[in-house]
């Protein structure tokens, strides 16, 4: 299931009336929004939105019918089993090794504040201030231990830059962490705390 649909489904089944709604759908051949609303003591618009969303997700189907000349929709359950599966591996960086040879160092006068972890050999967070004057906002990024250790060894401004892989070696970080490290490096490049040479 695509993430967008999963999010929509998640939102639907989290409603406190969702279980009662499904009970109706399972036991009725078909049902209209006004019938469901009256059975569950809901506003007709709430029931209609719920049923329409189920239709978009392919869980119900809707058919237009006429009462005298007035058209309305009747909804029929077409899936008695809902399978919510999200493939998270699609977010995995395709080639985590790519970009590790970038030469990086801290950018001069970046205004970031690095908080030292209790252990004293890594950082626990980086705080960056964005914007000017009253619009100025603080953004605090909490770091994982490997990220904190990596940034602790980041070359100073005007120091000889090092490649990401060199810094990782210096920090004794295994290549498994390369995606995690590159994630924070990319973010700090965007925030102009790190420069690439």
């Amino acid at each position: 299931m695509e993430f967008e649909n999963a999010a929509r489904l998640g939102a639907l089944i989290s409603k406190d009336y969702a279980e009662d709604f499904f009970r109706l759908l399972v036991n009725y051949q078909d049902i209209s929004a006004s019938e469901a609303a009256s059975r569950l003591s809901l506003h007709i618009k709430t029931a209609q939105d719920f049923l329409d969303n189920l239709t978009v997700l392919g869980i119900t189907k809707k058919d237009e019918v006429f009462e005298k000349k007035r058209p309305y929709f009747r909804y029929t359950l077409i899936q008695s089993m809902i399978d919510l599966k999200i493939d998270l591996s699609i977010y995995e960086k395709e080639n985590p090794g790519q970009g590790l040879s970038r030469l990086i160092r801290e950018m001069k006068e970046n205004g970031a504040n690095f908080s030292v972890a209790k252990s004293g050999d890594s950082f626990s967070a980086v705080t960056i201030w964005e914007g000017e004057g009253r619009e100025r906002q603080e953004q605090k990024i909490s770091l994982t231990t490997p990220q904190g250790k990596f940034l602790f060894h980041l070359p100073f401004p005007q120091a000889k830059p090092l490649t990401i892989i060199d810094i990782m070696e210096k920090t004794s970080l295994e290549s498994d962490y390369s995606a995690e490290i590159q994630n924070i490096v990319d973010e700090l490049i965007r925030l102009e705390v790190i420069e690439v040479l």
Binding site: E106, N110, F156, Q158
Partner: protein, 271 residues
């Protein structure tokens, strides 16, 4: 040997403020109330000021400061006792004894001062660190930097901590996994001596953990003590190297060489 000074000169008033206050108080009180109250006033000042070297001795175990505290204390005793002796010359009491002790202590204090035994050494450590560093423009960043590794055992560390503290090089903070040395740079020492400062986060420090990893942190305020914009990366590394070298010498029992290196800079013995 000639060394190029890389740190700004300290304001001379910082070194001579006490004699100036002393003389000023004496003449002000003397002109309004006479000799006896003037001597009592400076005696009071001596007693107050004697607390500072006494605190330094308690916190660092530097015996030179105990001698200095005693010297100031006896100066206070002399100034308290003298008015009675002046009024009735036949009743000198213990004044001659106090004077003999005072002069003897003064000679010891002069010896200690000339030999830099009372000098706070942080400035010298900074000068040593700055020696090989180039001036390449402002490159300061407010974060600590790893600066190498030197293998050290717990016993060696204890010995080194004791040496650094006793010789007024740094205030040590013992933590679970490391010792943090706060450099005794000008203006930094008083809050530590008075016990008003419980942490080192806003000061320049060098940390050595029990795995031997050295970490250096230099504050912007202390970086500005240099006359020029030294390469910040190099100065941090160099400060780490100085500590690494000191630690190696301490491990070999050659602490006197550390003192010799700092004395060779021939900075003003009074600070």
């Amino acid at each position: 040997m000639f060394f190029e000074r890389k740190m700004k000169k300290q304001n001379v008033l910082k070194s001579i403020w006490f004699p100036v206050v002393l003389v000023g108080t004496f003449f002000t009180v003397f002109s309004f109330y006479g000799l006896r109250p003037a001597l009592f006033a400076i005696s009071g000042l001596f007693l107050i000021v004697a607390v500072l070297p006494l605190l330094t001795y308690i916190r660092t175990q530097n015996t030179g400061y105990l001698v200095l505290a005693l010297y100031i204390f006896f100066a206070a005793l002399v100034t308290i006792s003298v008015p009675a002796a002046i009024e009735d010359r036949s009743n000198k009491g213990l004044v001659p004894l106090f004077l003999v002790i005072l002069y003897a202590l003064m000679l010891v204090v002069i010896y200690l001062t000339v030999n830099r035994k009372l000098r706070w050494r942080g400035e010298e450590v900074f000068e040593l660190a700055a020696m090989p560093v180039e001036d390449i423009g402002d490159s300061f960043t407010a974060r600590p930097r790893p600066a190498g590794q030197v293998p050290v055992s717990k016993t060696e560390m204890i010995r080194f901590v004791d040496f650094m503290s006793k010789n007024l090089v740094a205030f040590p903070f013992k933590e679970d996994n490391r010792v943090v040395f706060v450099l005794t740079l000008p203006g930094n020492d008083l809050p530590y001596l008075l016990g008003t400062k419980k942490d080192y986060l806003e000061d320049t420090w060098v940390a050595v953990d029990y795995d031997g990893n050295i970490t250096v942190n230099i504050t912007e305020e202390d970086y500005l003590l240099f006359k020029m914009d030294l390469d910040f990366d190099q100065i941090c590394q160099s400060l780490g190297d100085v500590f690494s070298e000191f630690l190696e010498l301490s491990k070999k029992g050659q602490e006197s060489k550390i003192i010799d290196r700092m004395n060779a800079l021939r900075l003003n013995p009074i600070n």
